[in-house]
């Protein structure tokens, strides 16, 4: 248009070199197309490699972990003998039933099944070991639920021990010499007998999802860690999202540009690069030692992870706010909207998808974080399911770390199963974020 203030000469000056026009064929163009094709190929290859890696990773975890979702049960015929459950006769007393010796019921049932093992003491102990050491708890629960069982004889399905469970799942090779095997020849024989009699059955491992941690692999579950993770993430989200978004909005929309805000900006970027364990140390020093908050609590874990997540959320939110076209701000200002109205009515809703993306990246990071939690005592063996934000708890990645550290063969598959659950939780969280983002986007 009429842009220049002074007239400019138009056209080539006389005596200039001949006009060169682009050639529409020839080697130059071929090279260009080839480069284009190559570039596309590189992109496809990268995606293929990334997809293959992901597939390999998830595949190997699944291959190792899927068997943990099943648990082998054995049927034993238990005599709920009056002599054990109600030794002093008379009416059945709840209190008495609670304290009765259910272990002897299990042992009697096993001895009855395999009378040949009763003579030798060592043999007897091996026999008792083919069922889970917590089998008596299952009997106890049964009797407490239904006291009329006392005096009756019932087939009961109890969990097989972790070694025989591994055998049933094919994790233990039978062709190895006995000394290299976790299961002795005798146990192998018992197992085969039970299997032939149809007394071995594989069932879905409900306990994996409903129980807390345990030293006994067949009893160990991730429910406690899952609840711990949810509680911790709740605190993290509640703290880091509002604080992060407010900080970003202030820095981006209201703060004057000066040395101070420059320093703040640089330091926020630096914080994002601080190793996470440092945040754990900070949490230990500040939240535990100074404020005296409880150890191993989701509250403290959430606060520490919130500190770690803040820079991510602030940086992502700021770039999302920056990406809102200035024309929208001008339009709102031009109508007489106050700065706060401009932000809350126009800028923030438009930036929300970007802010949510940043938040979910930060939360996903926090969900998988172990190191800072080590410092504040969340790496503990906790059997109870946490009931609140101040109960001792652990989180999924820490549970994975603890199980990976356990020597029992049966924890290997459980570790992988816990990883699968963690990944599932992550996918769920991302899905929620994507849904939220879609909703926000659809409104505009």
């Amino acid at each position: 248009m009429t842009d220049a203030a002074t007239p400019t000469p138009v056209g080539p000056s006389p005596g200039a070199s001949p006009i060169r026009r682009p050639v529409l064929s020839g080697p130059h163009l071929r090279r260009r197309y080839a480069a284009e094709r190559r570039f596309r190929l590189y992109g496809l290859a990268s995606i293929a490699v990334a997809g293959l890696m992901l597939l390999l990773l998830v595949g190997s975890i699944w291959q190792k972990g899927h068997s943990a979702f099943w648990q082998t049960y054995v049927e034993i015929t238990v005599t709920f003998s009056e002599g054990v459950l109600n030794p002093d006769g008379g009416p059945v007393d709840h209190h008495e039933l609670e304290r009765a010796d259910y272990l002897s019921l299990v042992r009697d049932a096993l001895k009855e099944q395999f009378p040949e093992a009763t003579g030798d003491r060592r043999l007897r102990r091996q026999l008792y070991g083919i069922v889970s050491t917590n089998a008596d708890f299952a009997l106890r629960r049964m009797v407490l639920d239904d006291p009329s069982l006392v005096g009756q004889r019932r087939p009961v399905w109890v969990k097989l021990s972790d070694d025989l469970d591994s055998l049933a799942k094919g994790h233990i090779r039978r062709d190895l010499p006995e000394s290299d095997r976790r299961v002795s020849d005798i146990e192998l024989g018992w197992y085969d007998v039970l299997d032939k009699a149809g007394r071995i059955e594989s069932r879905f491992n409900v306990d994996l999802f409903t129980a807390g941690d345990s030293r006994e692999p067949v009893e160990a579950g991730i429910y406690g860690a899952l609840i711990g993770s949810i509680l911790t993430m709740t605190i993290t989200l509640l703290v880091s999202f509002p604080v992060g978004v407010m900080a970003a909005v202030y820095l981006e929309e209201f703060a004057p540009r000066n040395r101070l805000t420059d320093v703040i900006e640089v330091n926020i970027n630096n914080l994002a690069a601080v190793p996470s364990i440092v945040f754990g140390l900070l949490g230990l020093a500040v939240f535990l030692n100074f404020f005296g908050l409880p150890r191993s609590a989701p509250l403290v874990g959430g606060l520490v992870l919130a500190l770690m997540t803040l820079p991510t959320i602030i940086i992502a939110s700021r770039s999302a706010l920056k990406a809102v076209p200035p024309s929208i701000r001008e339009a709102a200002f031009g109508l007489g909207a106050s700065p706060l109205q401009v932000v809350t009515h126009h800028v923030l809703p438009l930036a929300m998808p970007g802010i949510l993306t940043g938040t979910i990246i930060g939360m996903a990071q926090a969900l998988g974080e172990t190191a800072p939690l080590l410092m504040i005592g969340m790496v503990a063996f906790i059997v109870d399911i946490p009931q609140g934000f101040t109960d001792p708890a652990t989180v999924l990645p820490v549970q994975i770390y603890l199980w990976a550290d356990s020597p029992e063969r049966a924890f290997v598959e459980r570790t992988s199963a816990a990883i699968l659950v963690l990944l599932g939780f992550l996918v769920l969280m991302n899905a929620v974020a994507v849904l939220l983002r879609k909703r926000f986007e659809r409104r505009w």
């Binding site: 248009m1 009429t2 842009d3 220049a4 203030a5 002074t6 007239p7 004057p256 540009r257 076209p325 024309s327 929208i328 701000r329 001008e330 339009a331 709102a332 200002f333 031009g334 109508l335 007489g336 909207a337 106050s338 109205q341 009515h345 126009h346 438009l350 505009w444």
Partner: protein, 286 residues
């Protein structure tokens, strides 16, 4: 940010006759006393950091007239326009010195509420910038935040009226809930005009409102500007001299931050006093 003082207001006689401003620059053949002065700018200087973007501008905007600001790019006409509703406040490095009064009241008075000012002095931008909301919400936004309507029916009325006045209602009456960003460029710009007039401002500032539009849409908007003149005072920045000639009653020519000449549009285009104005309108530069 604003170094404007009340002393300066006192120094400039508030009741100075309008032609005294125009006379040194060539004079307005007809006395402009017939129409009241809406906005009065005296010795306005604008700096972007060290850059002196607008130099000692004295200009009166008459009520219910269209005043066109013309001049080559970078001459300060948009900057001047944005002074009139303090949109320059948004830019950090921008500094405005001088007096601008709206109905004799200093608009740079620290006690003046910018929100109120912008409700009285509306603005239409170069590029149509509807909010990414429905057509209805675009128009209803201003009345809502200024509390002009108390119930749904009132807002409905305002929205329909504003769209009608902007000449858009016929085209969109059956899709008010569709996003405003889905309209064509010309419709979007008329939507922006509807949005601006929905709050019933006294002055409407238009910053090259037609530069992104095709000739038909442009003609439609020019028509609209002429109709709106009855109720509003309009200041329009334009690069098209034909447009200035068509829609405006008065024209001001800016060059390199100076207000070179101001006068009746007819006079500016037929008998410019300044050689630079002559050069610009005849297309010798710019």
């Amino acid at each position: 940010m604003m170094s404007n003082t009340t002393q300066a207001t006192a120094a400039a006689p508030a009741a100075a006759p309008i032609h005294s401003v125009d006379e040194p620059r060539g004079g307005d053949p007809r006395p402009a006393t017939a129409t009241a002065v809406k906005i009065k700018a005296r010795d306005v200087n604008v700096y972007y950091g060290d850059k002196h973007a607008l130099k000692h501008v004295d200009l009166d905007i008459n009520e219910n007239e269209v005043t066109a600001l013309i001049g080559p790019s970078g001459c300060g006409k948009s900057t001047f326009l944005r002074c009139l509703n303090r949109m320059n406040d948004v830019i950090d490095s921008c500094r405005v010195v001088g007096d601008i009064t709206l109905d004799e009241a200093d608009i740079y008075d620290p006690s003046l509420d910018v929100v109120q000012l912008r409700a009285r002095v509306g603005m239409v931008f170069q590029k149509p910038n509807p909010f990414p909301k429905s057509i209805y919400d675009n128009v209803a936004y201003g009345p809502r935040i200024h509390g002009l309507a108390h119930n749904k029916a009132d807002i409905d009325d305002i929205v329909r009226q504003s769209l009608e006045r902007a000449g858009l209602l016929k085209e969109v009456h059956d899709r008010l809930d569709q996003p405003g960003t889905g309209l064509s460029g010309g419709q979007q710009q008329r939507l922006c005009i509807a949005r601006a007039i929905a709050v019933n401002p006294e002055v409407i500032l238009m910053d090259e409102p037609c530069s992104a539009l095709d000739p038909i849409a442009t003609a439609r908007i020019e028509e609209l500007i002429d109709e709106l003149r009855e109720n509003f005072t309009i200041v329009i920045v334009t690069h098209s001299m034909q447009q200035a000639a068509r829609v405006s009653q008065r024209t001001a020519f800016f060059h390199l931050g100076d207000l070179v000449e101001v006068g009746n549009t007819e006079q500016i285009f037929t008998n410019p006093k300044d050689s630079r104005t002559q050069g610009y309108i005849t297309g010798r530069f710019g």
